[in-house]
């Protein structure tokens, strides 16, 4: 039964396999450049397992010990996991023994797979979710170890390789944008047409832009756009080092207001 769950989980993780090996190798190379051996890379990727934080924390590991700052950085960069947890409350409700591990290993990619992928009816759902999470983490750890091993052997200049994280986030953003677009255009068009109808009862013609928005299904993308806008505003006001928490607060405020309006 477990083999079956493994076999049905694996295909879902293939895109992550390539991405994580690549990112993991880049991480391993960066770590080895700072003098960390394979053991440290293996340990960090196993117990922290948070890509963005691990990249950011490389400089933290080499500077003076500052536990409070490390804790705040970990919380603020990973605060988005709170969002994932909230989204997964129902789905993981009956995950049993493997639930703690799945929660522990809920990275962006595992989250996005578990959001959409359903195992075939004859496959144990818990085992399926477990293998998705465990496979993804294994790719990340293996990639890091490979990077740590080949890092010292590299002769070319690796300056700029940290751009992998940016590229990765842009790709996740585009994937998510597409998924949101496929989600429920009918549903949000319905919401809007209700508003347009109630508008026309007043005897006035609804503004043209309303119909246009309905046609383009821009509503599915509102959370993404709100995120971009709020984060940019917070960055401009608070600066590069302190903007994550204010950005999160601003995002929650905007999304709450948005909910009242729609």
């Amino acid at each position: 039964m477990k083999t079956l769950a493994f076999k049905s989980a694996f295909p879902h993780t293939v895109p992550v396999l390539t991405g994580f090996l690549f990112l993991g190798i880049a991480y391993g190379i960066l770590m080895s450049e700072r003098g960390f051996g394979v053991g440290w890379i293996f340990l960090t990727s196993s117990v922290v397992f948070a890509g963005a934080l691990q990249f950011v924390a490389i400089s933290l590991l080499t500077s003076a010990f500052d536990p409070l700052y490390a804790f705040i950085i970990a919380i603020s960069i990973n605060a988005r996991h709170l969002f994932y947890g909230i989204s997964m409350l129902k789905k993981l409700g009956d995950a049993g023994k493997v639930k703690p591990y799945i929660i522990f290993a809920m990275c962006d990619e595992t989250f996005s797979i578990l959001c959409s992928a359903e195992p075939p009816p004859n496959v144990n759902k818990q085992a399926f979710m477990f293998f998705v999470a465990a496979l993804n983490q294994s790719y990340w750890v293996i990639g890091g170890v490979i990077g740590g091993l080949i890092g010292p052997l590299l002769t070319f200049n690796t300056y700029g390789i940290d751009f992998v994280m940016t590229a990765f986030f842009v790709v996740v953003f585009i994937n998510r944008w597409r998924a949101d677009g496929n989600h429920s255009p009918a549903e949000s068009a319905e919401k809007l047409s209700v508003r347009i109808r109630s508008f026309s009862k007043t005897g006035l013609k609804p503004p043209v832009f309303c119909e246009r928005i309905a046609a383009h299904g821009i509503f599915q993308h509102s959370p993404a756009l709100i995120g971009l806008g709020a984060a940019t505003v917070a960055l401009l006001i608070f600066g590069a080092d302190n903007f994550v928490i204010p950005a999160m607060i601003l995002i929650i405020v905007c999304l709450t207001l948005f909910r009242r309006r729609v």
Binding site: F65, R80, G85, S87, V170, A231, A240, I251, L255
Partner: protein, 104 residues
């Protein structure tokens, strides 16, 4: 000290992942507002990450974020065109490394 820092990072990360489950042990009893947030927060969070990765670019001084803009355009263009994660990330990163090492 490195070990202590790694453990603190691990604890902080685990906290963000476990907290919702600690606060709402029974999913059904979580308020509707929390479920609404669960639906809309993920895309917003990814947007935040995109902005986060651009936080250190100075558009005011040379090269005005040009390597980043070009490389991100390449990543986005490739991904929309071919939809191949490895290609988009790999080619985009290679372009960026070439730009910052040889061009700018």
């Amino acid at each position: 000290m490195v070990l202590a820092t790694i453990l603190i990072l691990a604890i902080g990360t685990a906290l963000t992942r476990f907290l919702p489950f600690i606060l709402f042990p029974n999913a059904e009893s979580a308020p509707k507002y929390v479920h609404y947030l669960g639906n809309v927060l993920p895309p917003a969070a990814i947007s935040l990450l995109v902005v986060y990765s651009f936080r250190d670019i100075s558009f005011a001084s040379a090269p005005h974020g040009l390597p980043e803009i070009l490389a991100v355009a390449a990543v986005a263009g490739l991904h929309i065109w071919r939809n191949n994660t490895l290609l988009s990330i790999g080619a985009g990163t290679a372009l960026y490394m070439i730009l910052v090492q040889f061009v700018f």
